[in-house]
Symmetry: C2
Subunit: 210 residues, 2 copies
DNA sequence: CACCACAATCTATCACTGATAACTTATCAC
DNA sequence: GTGATAAGTTATCAGTGATAGATTGTGGTG
């Protein structure tokens, strides 16, 4: 074993890890605009100002870029939900606000939401489906946080069901349905968006709480 | 204008339009198994027992195959909902049965459901997003049928909201959320499926009806 | 300074994709 | 038979994700 002096040559241009962020920025913008599968690595590279093979110095595959963005999206969601949870007494009105945090997240980060929840499984069925992939772990964390919020309403005796996890999964599914459809099918003749969101949240509240 | 005698040469092998069905069968199986984008036209051709360019005698693009399958999926859904509507008095129990028709459809035809509702928009954002594409028209028809069902509960004075369309869209979104997540993320640690479905439907019923 | 090690990046290329063009084959009407 | 035509083929295109190997530039060392 030799004693290697610490090394960090050639920082110019991409300044080390900034390159990685530039690539992710470019990828997120393009993925959200056109969809993951419709974006080529050459487009990402051009947007990031580097050659296409240079991407592979930072990411093993294109899906890995999507996976990283997915993990980050979950982190933002967790942060939002956590922030909404502080000084939060369980009332029906606060319940609706909590649900709206999720929907607002989806509406404000459609690119990230697409990547996180609406990506089709890949050629080998891997990506999010892999039980211990990083995106799946991040997703479980986000769901755990969601469960905690629902749990507060449960211990306050406000939930209609006894099982917190069942309630949380049903609620999450209900929220996801609206967000994903609004993102995926914007051309559908939806009623006015705010009206629909408010009605949807009210419906979930009436259904989940006593 | 000449008077063309009716012609139909060369029926052998693919026997005319049966070829088309064989192609769609192969495509549906593969699309559902691996996802639309992960299936190549060569795989479809091999499964259908023809050469790859032969596909393009029946479909202009690969997406057109998906679009056709999408339209058919909607047709099945409409048929199911229509069948469930006959001799159907608006009671809470029947409401839950109607909702279950939708979820059962998704669970029994995950391939078709994927194609119909969970396809990412293409490179140019066309496909379902196009306002007058055939899949979009079929989707609107299915939603109209769903509205009719919800309308029956509305005229019976059972819905919590006045606006039938708002109620129907919120309900559809709620149903879609569960179905799409169960299909797209089967590895997620869901609670027992039947328990979750029953809880979800009950939640929607409590939220949508008085 | 000269020199080198090495990380970062590039050019060239691979196998594969969706799609098209041009050719071949088999069936029918006559 | 014979020509017309539908159906299917082989050959090929540009573009994709990914890899191999050459090239460049920086920092540390003598």
């Amino acid at each position: 074993m030799k004693t290697p002096t610490t090394r960090s040559p050639r920082k110019a241009k991409g300044q080390g890890s900034e390159r990685r962020e530039e690539i992710l920025d470019a990828a997120l913008a393009l993925f959200g605009e056109k969809g993951v599968h419709a974006v080529s690595t050459r487009q990402i590279a051009e947007q990031a100002g580097i050659s296409q093979p240079a991407l592979y110095a930072y990411f093993a595959t294109k899906d890995d870029m999507a996976a990283e963005l997915c993990v980050r999206a979950f982190a933002i969601l967790v942060e939002r939900m956590c922030a909404a949870r502080t000084n939060h007494v369980p009332t029906p009105a606060n319940f609706e606000r909590a649900m709206r945090v999720y929907i607002d997240f989806g509406m404000e980060h459609p690119n990230a939401y697409r990547v996180a929840f609406m990506i089709e499984k890949g050629p080998n069925g891997e990506f999010l489906d892999k039980t211990n992939s990083r995106p799946m772990i991040a997703g479980k964390e986000a769901f755990a946080m969601f469960c905690e919020i629902v749990g507060e309403y449960h211990v306050a005796g406000l939930t209609a069901l006894d099982d917190v996890v069942v309630t949380a999964q049903a609620l999450w599914a209900g929220l996801h349905g609206l967000v994903s459809l609004l993102i995926a099918r914007p051309e559908f003749p939806w009623v006015e968006r705010e009206t629909l969101i408010a009605a949807h949240i009210a419906m979930l509240r009436r259904g989940a709480l006593k």
